[in-house]
């Protein structure tokens, strides 16, 4: 009976010794400090776009064929039309950086108008196809188009680029082509500023 009463005391003493030995065996201070930061998913024009977020302009010049009064045949081809600023050969060129693996693009556009009421046989509207080409890191380019004549979605063929953007300068180009109109074009200034429409809207998002 007496031994069993002292048993717990002996065990407790041994436990204290064990703790003491562990403390003396590890007399160093070891610690860790976590370092963190973040990169927000984003897309940005580099350098930043001009005020109002306007990337540039495409000047198509004289739209009508003087001999017919109708839209020039040369503007109706699928080649990029007009003089682009900034850029060249009909392409407004900008540099866009996205830090995501697969950004997406939304493209829409409004037809050109001059605000004049057209008489019979005339038209105050010129449609076109807006196009955006985005260079991909893997090579090649993703192309989306938006014909102002048609209804449908805000862009074609889709939103996801399917891969990361190239990080090269001038990796995004915007152009117009395939203009169309029915009838004699009324005299006036088409598109903004001065007329109506003629605005290509683009949104590029990181996801």
């Amino acid at each position: 009976m007496s031994i069993s009463k002292f048993g717990p005391i002996v065990i407790a003493t041994l436990g204290a010794l064990a703790i003491s030995q562990a403390a003396s065996a590890d007399p160093v201070v070891t610690g860790t400090v976590n370092v963190n930061g973040f990169v927000t998913a984003s897309c940005a024009v580099v350098p930043p776009a001009t005020s109002g977020g306007v990337w540039g302009s495409i000047a198509l010049g004289e739209l009508d064929d003087p001999s017919t009064g109708q839209l020039k045949a040369s503007l109706q081809t699928s080649a990029a039309q007009g003089v682009a600023t900034p850029g060249s050969n009909g392409f407004v060129t900008v540099s866009i950086i996205c830090n995501s693996a697969s950004p997406s693009v939304t493209l829409s556009a409004t037809s050109l108008g001059d605000g004049v009421t057209a008489q019979a046989g005339q038209t105050s509207r010129v449609d076109y196809t807006a196009q955006i080409d985005l260079d991909l890191a893997a090579g090649g380019a993703f192309t989306a188009t938006y014909p102002t004549t048609g209804a449908g979605g805000p862009q074609s063929p889709g939103t996801s680029l399917g891969g990361p953007l190239a990080t090269t300068t001038g990796n995004v180009r915007v152009s117009v082509h395939s203009l169309s109109a029915t009838g004699v074009l009324t005299a006036g200034t088409y598109g903004t500023p001065g007329g109506t429409g003629g605005v290509i809207s683009i949104t590029i998002t990181p996801t």
């Binding site: 160093v28 400090v33 976590n34 370092v35 963190n36 973040f38 830090n99 693996a101 990181p206």
Partner: protein
């Protein structure tokens, strides 16, 4: 009855043990002076104690071009610092510092033009009793030893609170776009008494 006898026996034994020293003492006194000494000793184990822990938050890492914000590349402190109080009882404590680079765990979509890691220099400043400051750094970009410039602090630690400061400097810019995500790294520090 048996229990009573047992207690009685224990009492007798205790008495015998007590009487023996008394008898010895009486004999010594009778023989003259008694000289003796008592040694008293103790030990202080060489050790360092304290706690080092915390988080350094750098915030948004990328700049306008999607690459590392150039302001992070200076050799000044970026983000907050972490302070700690460590007590060492030796005159020649040592420090070891190492760190892992910042990583967001994202596979770069195009490794040639995108990156998911950021290197930096981890730094520890130790206030010494001299007084002075011992500084050790560890660039995550480089190979080499676990710390720089060395392990020996060369002086006793200051006993003042917050005698340890850990910071991050000199993030390394590369001409690549940082992938979006949460970046994290770990600085490991060991301070030992020798």
């Amino acid at each position: 009855m048996r229990m009573f006898n047992s207690k009685l026996w224990l009492g007798a034994a205790s008495l015998a043990i007590c009487l023996a020293p008394v008898a010895s003492h009486a004999a010594a006194v009778a023989g003259g002076q008694v000289s003796g000494q008592v040694n008293v000793n103790g030990v202080v184990t060489a050790s360092c104690s304290g706690s080092i822990a915390g988080t350094i938050q750098l915030g948004e890492l990328d700049g306008a071009n999607g690459q590392l914000d150039p302001s992070f590349t200076t050799n000044t402190t970026h983000g907050n610092t972490v302070q700690a109080s460590v007590i060492c009882n030796s005159n020649a404590p040592t420090v070891t510092i190492s760190a892992t680079r910042l990583d967001d765990g994202v596979t770069p979509p195009d490794p040639a033009t995108y990156t998911s890691t950021v290197d930096y220099t981890a730094r520890i400043d130790i206030a010494t009793a001299t007084p002075g400051t011992f500084t050790a750094t560890y660039p995550t970009a480089g190979a080499g030893g676990p710390q720089s410039p060395g392990t020996a602090i060369g002086a006793a630690l200051s006993a003042a609170p917050n005698n340890i400061t850990i910071s991050v400097t000199s993030l390394v810019a590369v001409a690549k776009v940082l992938t979006a995500g949460s970046y994290s790294g770990v600085i490991s520090v060991t301070i030992s008494p020798s």
